[in-house]
């Protein structure tokens, strides 16, 4: 499982890295970073606790969206490594014109994708307590 996972993860690494970089650059220019430095916080604390935590929100969004691409990419990776996964099943069902299985697999993947996006929305609230859902 190591190589398939690595093959999928590598493309994600690049995307997350670039998003984190641009997000960090933006956050590091905010006034509260200067405040944190002025009150004498150590540099690692400033970068990790004050900057990174605020910079993570767009990163989490991107990871959520990328998850969809990973599900697509795993179809290819499963094919290459011969793994009997969901993508493998979907593809075989298409080759065999087994439409009920195709429908089931696609609906399941969509449901999973929606769930991931729900989790992403909930993570926003953890990262930034100002974001609250429900009757406020």
């Amino acid at each position: 499982m190591a190589f398939p996972t690595l093959a999928l993860a590598l493309s994600l690494v690049a995307v997350v890295m670039r998003m984190t970089r641009s997000s960090m650059l933006e956050v590091l220019e905010q006034d509260y970073i200067q405040t944190a430095r002025a009150k004498g916080a150590a540099e690692p604390t400033v970068v990790l606790r004050h900057a990174l935590k605020n910079a993570l929100i767009p990163v989490v969004t991107v990871v959520g969206v990328q998850f969809g691409y990973l599900l697509g990419g795993s179809v290819v990776v499963e094919q290459i490594f011969g793994l009997p996964g969901l993508g493998f099943m979907l593809l075989n069902a298409i080759y065999q014109r087994d439409y009920p299985v195709v429908q089931g697999a696609v609906v399941f993947v969509a449901l999973f994708f929606i769930l991931v996006n729900l989790v992403v929305d909930l993570v926003y609230g953890v990262l930034d307590p100002r974001i609250r859902y429900g009757s406020a």
């Binding site: 670039r18 970089r21 641009s22 650059l25 998850f67 969809g68 691409y69 599900l71 697509g72 990419g73 179809v75 290819v76 094919q79 290459i80 993508g87 979907l90 593809l91 069902a93 298409i94 080759y95 439409y99 195709v102 696609v106 993947v109 969509a110 994708f113 929606i114």
Partner: protein, 263 residues
């Protein structure tokens, strides 16, 4: 960097246009021994049927670019029309169209393309249509946002008051505001569309042999990876270079046309 991207894209377009002049051999005929290593007569080697890989790659650029351009055109024209009308008319129609878009968004893009080609049947036209349909909701969303921002402006109201019909107001007064994000989205979509074509062909759902598609070459070349790695490596490198070209170009255009997103 964006100049390098543009140069890469232009180089591939020139290769595709001049394919029959530039390619040393015919792309679908065996011209030598099977699986010969790269040498002077076959600069990138030959594949499992003795066909010249360089020639197949050059002719394959036609297919990749054609599928990319046509699929993105389908997505752009269809999506932008939906987005423009949806944002302009508003109300229930907007509500309905955006929910349809939401549903299409809930299926991961490659999975949607695989399913659509699975249902339509494999082949060049069907793969192109399937990839185009996958891009439709993205373009609809990208177009709708700026429309909502300008639809209440005085100049749009003035154009309406002057007796301009919906078509006239949309094309002359609303569309120019939507152009910049649409152009950026188009170049970025081109790169993913080419990847999508390669993925579909790799899985055997796209272009069918013996046509020289990069994805098909990758998919069949994979079996000979240990014996003759050049059969799979060069098509992979071609896909990578073209996608890189469109990505660099798209990033550059985004920096110029959409300064808010500058990294």
């Amino acid at each position: 960097m964006s100049t390098a991207g543009a140069a890469l894209v232009v180089a591939f377009v020139v290769l595709a246009v001049l394919a029959s002049v530039v390619a040393p051999h015919a792309p679908e005929d065996p011209v030598g021994q099977r699986l010969t290593a790269p040498q002077r007569a076959y600069p990138l080697g030959t594949d499992e049927f003795g066909r010249d890989i360089l020639s197949r790659l050059i002719f394959g650029s036609r297919i990749s670019l054609w599928v990319g351009v046509v699929a993105v055109a389908i997505g752009l024209v269809g999506g932008a029309s939906v987005g423009l009308v949806s944002g302009y008319v508003g109300g229930r129609l907007d509500m309905f169209l955006m929910r349809v878009v939401d549903v299409m968004f809930s299926i991961p893009p490659i999975i949607l393309a695989i399913t659509l080609t699975g249902v339509l049947g494999p082949g060049l036209t069907n793969a192109t249509v399937a990839i185009g349909l996958v891009y439709l909701p993205t373009f609809a969303r990208v177009a709708r946002g700026p429309v909502l921002a300008v639809v209440g402006r005085e100049y749009v109201e003035a154009a309406r008051a002057a007796g301009g019909g919906a078509t006239r107001v949309l094309s002359l007064h609303v569309l120019p505001n939507v152009m910049a994000p649409l152009i950026v989205q188009t170049t970025l979509a081109l790169s993913t569309a080419i990847l999508a074509e390669a993925t579909l062909s790799f899985l055997g759902l796209g272009i069918q042999p013996p046509e020289p598609s990069w994805g098909t070459m990758l998919g069949t070349g994979r079996k000979y990876m240990e014996l003759a790695p050049w059969v799979a490596i060069f098509p992979g490198a071609a896909v990578m270079l073209l996608v890189l070209g469109f990505n660099l170009l798209g990033d550059g255009l985004r920096d110029v046309l959409d300064p808010r997103l500058r990294p």
